[in-house]
Amino acid sequence: MSGADNSGMIKAIDFSSKDHYRTKAFPSPFFTRQQAVNELQEWGRWADYLSPRAYYCSSMEYFAARNASAVFDLTPMSKYRISGPDALPCLNRLVTRQVEKIKPGRVGYCVWCTDAGQVIDDGTIFHLSEGEYRLCSQERHLDWLLTNTVGFDVTVSDETHMVAALALQGPTSCATLKAMGLEGVENMKPFDIEYFPFEESQLMVSRTGFTGDLGYELWVEPRYAEALWDRLFEAGKLRGIQAMGDEALAMLRVEAGFIQAGHDFMPAHATVRTTHTRSPFELGLSWLVDFDKPVFNGRKALLEEQARGHRYNLVKLDIDGNKPANDSFVYTTGKKLIGTVTSAIWSPSAKASIALASVKTPHGQSGEEFLVEIYYQKELKWSRVMARARVVSDVFFTPPRRRQTPPADF
């Protein structure tokens, strides 16, 4: 197991030590609690952290999120504090959307691009309080963010390791938080941020998540991490709370139609072959590109792309049969190769084989039919099907409780 030293102990992150970089994988502040319930001991990596792939059974963890509530450790996510008089203009130059529309106490989804208009990553901007922002993303971006500060009166600091975070997702999540004593949490609307007293400190709660369901994200100082975990599981005990790993989350996010760096697009800064990246338009994110604001990274290239036409469409596919279409080629019904599947699962909630796929324009119109080439095996005997698939415009799973305020009590 990586991250363990010779004594078999996991070293906690210690930035006062000069050689902290020698440790390849850090335990998260929730590690002791995660380890206690991690029956499989299947640890993966997320940047410099150990991150559980699954705790006991990824399908059961998935069902906990859809039918009760599931807890996912978000600590490894990159978190950057952006503050100072020019925080807003600096962010507006960084991302493609109008940041002014994200009011204090609100969260907004965004993407940011290279000058060539190619997506570096997607993430969320938390407008913590007037002029104070936090940018969260899967990949690390400190170098790019610092480059973006030149000419602005703004400071960017990496607070990834200074904030411990859990996602609590699922229909009983609100009730669990209420039971934990968060008064008024039921009044939070999607994308709201609220602060609640916690131990001698403060708990920040945002009604956000990566599951397309009712859910919250909880943010505390690392020293209160274990207390948060304990109180959450205590309050959720009778509400079906379970810990959840990466594998379950991967299913949930495809059902919600959310894209992920490294799967549905290559982060432009980590891509050697420049034609393998995607613009926001090519990821179905044109609603995030606001040409009404002046200079932003990629503006010129994106204007040109808009005039010239896009190369790809990212589509949601509903595929016949029950075989997940991982890594499949996508063809027209006339068998012309036009793209590849980027993410695929058998969706337990939609009861369908679903996928996200990148196809060449002009293909990808709603209702268009494709053939998807699926290889599968039964006891080492391989077969191939050319399954019919349809482009759908609606998200595969989007329950009304996702937006309902106040959510149902349990």
Partner: protein, 518 residues
């Protein structure tokens, strides 16, 4: 009334660009911050009654086309000296004199003579490949544009036309260092020292640094003999200004541009220090790229990847300039009076030059600097009172970012340089009436060149052609509509050439025609 085109900076490139654009019928206004035109190609007083070429002091790269097309000779340009020799000073007074492919004195061997001729032959040949690019707008690489492809093809052809042996040699040496080349070809220390100066003058390189063959070839590429304009280098700028005015350009001095104004994605004009706003449909900047983009336009008006590229341009000046007003002609040990007016070098051997460079790596100035010395007043009595003289010398290495700053160390450095001169010309210290030392920091202040850099940014293979000053602002364009570049920071770089100004004018004419059509 709105102007067609505003040009920021009345250095020689800004003025050349203005002349070409005005000639093509554009309404042009040049705005120069200083009281006097010329930028780093200027003649100005440095002590009462004494004039000096305060920046560039020798003319050897002036673009033939500019000279002819703008008829500079009929507009005031004349020469006090042409085809100057190079004198490589020896401490013992047994100097080496290099002229027209041959060297005399200092016991030079026949073998070195032959080697020198061969060296001049192949270097001139290789330099001409780079030279032919000076008058071409640099091509884009990944392109379907036919003129870009033609330029690339022509360059490839130029290299092929060298023949098998020379082509192989060109490809071998283009990326390596001048130290190795000179060691391979020559024995005489003075000869190697003198020739290495072609690779390092105005650069942040020592003879052993990679890229120093490229800088040598660049310098040789425009070489048409080393000349001294009558009245100093300012005469080139004055002639260009005269031509520009004749064609109707307006030229203003003491006009400091503080801001390039933008609306939407387009440049709309400039704002001056006194608050005056001048609108124009295009703005052309001859200021260095960092001043233009970071200072005048502002990083916030640019996309971040481009900002990073501009900030990463290497532009650390290492050349200082010494000006002396002398009570009479200095006497260099063993140097006959007839050679005093030539180009005089202190670079006694190539190891000395490399050692002079060693200190700059660590933020110090050379302990034993190298120098390129001229006595312009010897053949031009307009520069000094009767019987008195002016010495102008380029001194290397004096890094822009000297550890602990220049303020406290400039006086001592000046003394050290005068001690060095005293070694070769005993008694010169007593002849000094006035002295002026311009460190790169002073050069930055006087000429408004970031880093005080000779070329507005290091001349290197990765900062040349379509990479100069940075991708997306090559071809004299910029990421901002209506903003163009025309100074030494653009292709083909610094030195008093006028090529950047001329090429920029043709790129701008092409672009504005396209704008008018659409």
């Amino acid at each position: 009334m709105t102007n067609d085109i505003i040009i920021i900076g009345g250095g020689h490139n800004g003025l050349a660009c203005a002349a070409y654009l005005a000639k093509a019928g554009k309404r042009v206004t040049v705005l120069e911050a200083a009281e006097q035109l010329g930028g780093a190609a200027i003649t100005r007083e440095f002590a009462p009654g004494y004039q000096v070429s305060a920046g560039a002091h020798l003319l050897y790269m002036l673009d033939k086309n500019v000279r002819k097309e703008l008829a500079l000779e009929s507009n005031g340009l004349a020469f006090s000296q042409s085809n100057m020799k190079t004198v490589a000073l020896a401490e013992d007074g047994d100097h080496l004199v290099i002229a027209n492919n041959s060297a005399q004195g200092a016991g030079i061997t026949d073998a070195d003579q032959v080697a020198l001729q061969e060296y001049q032959r192949f270097m001139t040949r290789f330099a001409s490949i780079i030279g032919r690019l000076h008058n071409r707008i640099p091509p884009r690489i990944a392109t379907k544009n036919s003129s870009d492809l033609l330029t690339l093809a022509k360059t490839a052809l130029d290299i092929r036309m060298l023949g098998r042996d020379d082509m192989r040699e060109f490809l071998r040496i283009a990326g390596i260092n001048i130290y190795d080349i000179l060691q391979e070809n020559f024995d005489h220390p003075l000869l190697k020292g003198a020739l290495s100066m072609d690779g390092i003058l105005g650069t942040n390189l020592g003879p052993r640094s990679n890229n120093s063959v490229f800088t040598t070839l660049h310098r040789l590429s425009g070489l048409q003999g080393i000349n001294m304009p009558r009245g100093g280098l300012g005469a080139v700028s004055e002639a260009l200004a005269t031509v520009a005015r004749k064609h109707g350009a307006t030229i203003r001095t003491s006009a400091v541009v503080t801001r390039i104004c933008m609306q939407g994605d387009r440049v709309t004009g400039v704002e001056l220090q006194d608050g005056e706003e001048i609108s124009a449909s295009a703005v052309v900047s001859s200021a260095d790229p960092r001043t233009t983009f970071m200072g005048l336009l502002g990083a916030r008006n640019l996309e971040a990847g481009f900002v990073r590229r501009i900030n990463n341009i290497r532009m650390r000046g290492t050349a200082a300039k010494l000006h002396l007003a002398l009570d009479g002609l200095p006497a260099f040990k063993g140097l006959e009076a007839g050679l005093l007016g030539e180009r005089i070098l202190i670079a006694p051997d190539i190891e000395y030059v490399e050692r002079a460079f060693n200190q700059v790596k660590y933020g110090q100035h050379s302990v034993h600097p190298v120098a390129e010395i001229t006595l312009p007043s010897l053949h031009d009595d307009s520069l000094a009172p009767n019987g008195k003289h002016v010495l102008s010398a380029i001194i290397q290495y004096a890094p822009y970012d000297l550890k602990n700053g220049w303020a406290s160390q400039k006086a001592a450095f000046t003394e050290q340089v005068i001690d060095l001169l005293e070694q070769y010309a005993p008694g010169i210290r007593q002849q000094i009436i006035h002295q002026e030392m311009l460190t790169p920091v002073d050069i930055e202040r006087e000429f408004r060149i970031s880093g005080g850099h000779w070329h507005h940014g290091e001349l290197a293979i990765d900062q040349f052609l379509m990479l100069r000053p940075a991708p997306h602002s090559a071809q004299y364009l910029s990421p901002v509509d209506g903003l163009y570049l025309c100074g030494a920071g653009s292709h083909p770089g610094g030195g008093v050439m006028g090529s950047a100004g001329r090429n920029a004018a043709s790129a701008i004419l092409k672009a504005t025609q396209k704008d008018e059509r659409s």
